[in-house]
Amino acid sequence: MPEPHATRRQFLVVASAAALLAVPWPTLAMPDAMKAAIRDVVKGAVVRVGKVKFDVPPLVENGNTVPVTVSVTSPMTDADHVVSIHIFNEKNPQPNVGNFYVGPRAGRGQVATRIRLADTQTLTAIAKLSDGSFWSATADVVVTLAACTEEAS
């Protein structure tokens, strides 16, 4: 797990190392609502850092439409595949962003979508594999505030 202020590049290095070491997953820095939402998904299982790649632009031009892609390293066979992918955020009123159910028929454990982010924050993606294990990655995103908005009227 990266330091809270780790850069994206540092994070990728740490994440790939963690995949080998199976570092336990600290949730200390997370808001309580986000921890609870994650607990509802993982049901007490250990979440490890690794296997998940979370692509989010480090600086987005408008928080209304933030493109995100989660891809999970998996052979996607009947015996060994991604079951589901879950995205969580810290600062929206609801921590759940989306749940995505994939399977061996997907061929690739990957989903892309666009989300709303109220503010600059850290996002978390968690993948459940067919052996029951959970894997995760985080991504820091800076949301630009619009200079002029129509709400100014």
């Binding site: 600059t120 800076v142 630009t144 505030l145 200079a147 100014a152 009227s153």
Partner: protein, 134 residues
């Protein structure tokens, strides 16, 4: 638009050279309130200016940094530059923050109101005067 006081008439002031020597309200402003006005995007300063505001991620670069403005200008000079910068340079993009005449097609929500009230002008003057480090 909240914040700017609604004033049918602005308080009178006297310009001496490139400055307004006397406080618009007769009282000194509050630098802490001034800082909160400067970093509040509703009051528009940070759209164009940057300054020593580490917590503000997005600051404009159309105008000089506010850092050191207290060393470059006296409070009296800062006051005129806020009240009516166009008086010193007709071509400036710096709005006149305490002026309601000479404007065209002002939107309903803002018509007849200065961008900042006299009290807010004094607060910002007091704050900018504290910015002595370049």
């Amino acid at each position: 638009m909240s914040g700017a006081a609604c004033c049918d008439e602005l308080l009178p002031y006297e310009v001496v050279d490139d400055a307004i020597p006397a406080s618009l309200t007769g009282a000194a402003g509050d630098p802490a309130r001034g800082r909160s006005i400067v970093v509040n995007r509703q009051f528009t300063c940070l759209l164009c200016h940057s300054g020593p505001f580490a917590e503000q991620r997005f600051q404009g670069d159309l105008a000089p940094s506010l850092a050191g403005s207290g060393a470059r200008w006296s409070e009296a000079q800062l006051r005129l530059r806020l009240v009516d910068a166009a008086r010193l340079n007709a071509a400036t993009i710096m709005p006149s923050y305490y002026r309601i005449d000479g404007q065209q097609r002002v939107g309903d929500a803002w018509r007849g109101k200065p961008i900042l009230s006299a009290e807010q002008i004094e607060d910002v003057v007091a704050y900018l005067a504290t910015l002595r480090e370049p």
